[in-house]
Structures are given as C-alpha cells and as structure tokens.
C-alpha cells in the first residue's frame, strides 16, 4: 500500500468504492490522518480518475460522483468564504476526514484480528474428541387425582346410559283426571279451573297441576262428562258437570 498512487493507475477494480480509494490515497501522504491535506487528497483523487478515463477504463458512476463532489469541495475551500453556504467547506472536509479515520481504524482492526492465533490455523482443538453424551429420559408425571378423575370420566362417559328423572313436584295426568272428575260432582255452578287445584299448590307444582288439570278437563269434556266455558282468549276457564 506504500506506492499506492502509482499502482492505482492501472487497478481500479481493486477498490471497494470511492472511500476505499480515498483512504489508500490518503495513506500515501504518509501522515496521520488528522494531519491530512484534504486539498492534496482531492487532487490525488481527481488525477487518478482522470488517468483511469484516459486509459479508457470503465469508471463506475459512484467514483465519478465522488470526483464531482471533491471538485466542488476543492473550489469551495479555495474561493473566498461565502458565509451563506451551509455547511461550510471546512465542515465538509472535516466530515470526510472523520469518515476516513473510521474506515482506517476498522481496516487496521480487521488486520489485527485476522492476524491473531486462530483456531484451526494456529491453534487446534482436539482432533478426535470422544464427545459427551446426554442420555435423555422422560420422567412421566401423573397424580393419583388425575388417575381416578380419568376413571370417573370414562365411567361417566361409557357406563350404560341411565336416565334418572329426578323426583319432581308434578301432578300426573291420571291424578288430575281423577281429581277433577271427583270434584266436579260436588259443584253445582260454573267453577274456574284454578279452584280445582290443591289449596297448598305453589311454584312449579302449581304450574304442573294447572297444566295437568287443563288436559284432564279437555279429556273429561271429550268423554262428555263435563262442560267448558271461556268468554274470550285468556279469559278465565270455567268447568261444570255435564247435564245428563
């Protein structure tokens, strides 16, 4: 990299972009990058690109963009300062110098890194390690509760299905027929169906008794044993023994 400026004239493909080329040129100044002459660097770069074009080498667009930018920077640095222009050419130059410093730092760090004693090149791991073994075993987990709950679940699911109707407070149709038939004989006048219900009936039992008594009334009417009367829909329903 010492005679970079000379070899540059024939080797543009070797550079990883304009910044890389600039860094190589900067290093050819053989000064600390902080002491770098930006004007000199610009001249070096522009000369290089011109030479490359004279040799009719393809110069990639980003090198030309950099060349144009550097030409602008050079003129701005040389011309009397225009306070209106932001950022100032000095600031642009400083940024360029900072970028070159950073790239240079990483390039040198990379070189030091790969020069270290590297595994498989300078130091070696054991050639034929026996290897360590992990014997995996599953420890199955289950609690006694899980076991008996599972059995309960199966039993509930698959035992002969047995429908158990709970003892519910109902009046069966047979009971209602017997009840209405026996009571009707004692009634002279029209009586509401509610009057045939047990006096203490309440809640679900009363509803059941009412429904059964109604069906019983219809059955007895069909047999001609009672008469029914209702003035209108939802009006009270009256029962009376049939006149024979």
């Amino acid at each position: 990299m010492t005679d970079a400026a000379e070899t540059l004239t024939i080797d543009i493909d070797g550079w990883e972009g304009p910044l890389d080329l600039l860094l190589a040129l900067a290093r050819s100044q053989k000064v600390d990058l902080r002491q770098l002459s930006i004007l000199q660097l610009v001249d070096q770069y522009l000369t290089y690109v011109d030479e490359a074009r004279e040799l009719k080498l393809e110069v990639a667009a980003d090198y030309l963009v950099m060349a144009a930018w550097l030409a602008y920077l050079k003129s701005a640095l040389l011309l009397p300062r225009d306070p209106e222009v932001e950022p100032s050419p000095e600031e642009l130059a400083l940024r360029l110098q900072l970028r070159l410093e950073r790239l240079n730092a990483m390039r040198e760090a990379g070189a030091r890194l790969v020069a270290r004693d590297r595994m498989g090149r300078d130091v070696f791991a054991r050639g034929a390690p026996e290897g360590l073994r992990v014997v995996r075993r599953s420890r199955w987990d289950a609690e006694i509760y899980d076991l008996i709950a599972a059995y309960g679940r199966i039993s509930a699911r698959t035992r002969p299905v047995m429908h158990i109707v709970a003892v519910r407070p109902v009046m069966t149709l047979e009971d209602a027929i017997a009840r209405v038939a026996s009571m009707i004989g004692e009634r002279i006048d029209w009586s509401t169906i509610e009057s045939f219900l047990p006096g203490d009936a309440s809640g679900p039992f009363r509803k059941s008794a009412l429904a059964s008594s109604f069906v019983a009334a219809l059955e007895l009417a069909r047999q001609g044993r009672i008469e029914l009367r209702q003035k209108s829909a939802f009006a009270p329903l009256y029962l009376k023994a049939a006149e024979r």
Partner: protein
C-alpha cells in the same frame, strides 16, 4: 517433564490435535525428532484424567477409563401424561389384567400403540400374559412401581365407583366442564337437569 522441553510440548500438541492415533514415524514427520518421548509423555499423564496410550504401535490420548461415568449425564425431562395416557392407565388399574381390545371398548376410543408404550416406558404397566381365548391377546397389568408412584398400598386402595360418585367425579357438570375445557369429547348428558 520439563515444561521448557520444546519437543515434548510439540509431541503433546501433535497427538492432541491428530484425529487419528499416530505411529512413531508419523509423529516424527511432524516434530522431526526422536519420537520415543511418547513413552515419557505417557508417564507424565499416568493417573490423570487424560491418558496417553499405545495401541498396536499407535499413540493417542484418551480419557481415563474410570471416568467414563462422568462423560455422560442423564437428563430427565418431566412430562405430563396425555389424557389418553392417563385414561388408559386408569382402565388398566381398575380392570387388570386387561387386553387392548377391552381397553378400547371401555374407553370407547381406539388406543394408539404409543400410549401403551409410554405407560410401559414410565414403568407403570407391564404385559401380564396372554388370555386363553381365540387370538390369545396380550393382557396388561400395573406394576409395583405404579403403586409406589401413586402412593397406593395396593390396588384395593383405588376408590370404587361409589366413592367416585360420592366425590363428584361422576358428576356430569364436571364432565361437561372438562369437555368444554379440552374440547375433545362430546358428552352424553347422562342424568337429570332441572
């Protein structure tokens, strides 16, 4: 061994890095010296965790044989038994000895081969002979380990159906809840509702 002995160090490194046991001529090709040092190096390692040994004229490092038990470790992964697994186990426990066909008929679902394998791997179920009926199907029963794991003195300690009912374990509400939770079994509503 003198640590400063360069040849000895090189021998050590070469034998360590080699992926093959090495003959003395092979060693010589690397360290360019008399390779008889191997015996001296072997002495140095005597009694250590690593040994340098000669087998059929070839030298290699190996771990000391008495430490083999350190080179493996058991890893126990705790795993929960699947629903099919626990149900199958319950049926075996309550009905043993029981054939696979009987298990399936009680569960009302086909039992995957893997399910019984898991139970046997866990050490809770064992084959318990063949039933002397056509086809001579294998039967299964629980093991002593099963009793130990579940804290049972004997199978008679398992709660009976009446106990289960009393404990609410046949309660269809729980059953329906379970089913809703796991979303798999459809539940027949066995009993009353109000």
């Amino acid at each position: 061994m003198s640590v400063a002995d360069e040849t000895m160090r090189a021998l050590e490194a070469v034998l360590f890095a080699s992926d093959q046991p090495m003959t003395v001529p092979e060693i010589r090709a690397y360290i360019g010296e008399d390779a008889d040092l191997a015996a001296a190096l072997a002495d140095h390692y005597a009694g250590r965790g690593i040994e340098l040994v000669e087998r059929g004229g070839r030298w290699h490092f190996q771990t000391a044989a008495d430490l083999a038990n350190f080179l493996r470790r058991d890893r126990e992964d705790s795993r929960k038994l699947s629903r099919a697994g626990i149900e199958t186990l319950a049926i075996i426990a309550y009905h043993e000895p029981v054939t696979r066909a009987e298990i399936e008929s009680i569960r009302g679902v086909q039992t995957a081969k893997g399910t019984l394998d898991v139970l046997m791997e866990a050490g809770w179920v064992r084959p318990a002979g063949r039933r002397e009926v056509p086809g001579r199907p294998l039967t299964y029963a629980t093991t002593a380990e099963f009793l130990t794991h579940f804290g049972l003195a004997s199978r008679r300690d398992l709660p009976g159906i009446d106990d289960l009912r009393a404990a609410g374990l046949l309660d269809p509400v729980d059953l329906a809840f379970d089913a809703a939770q796991s979303g798999d079994d459809t539940v027949e509503t066995v009993t009353q509702d109000d």
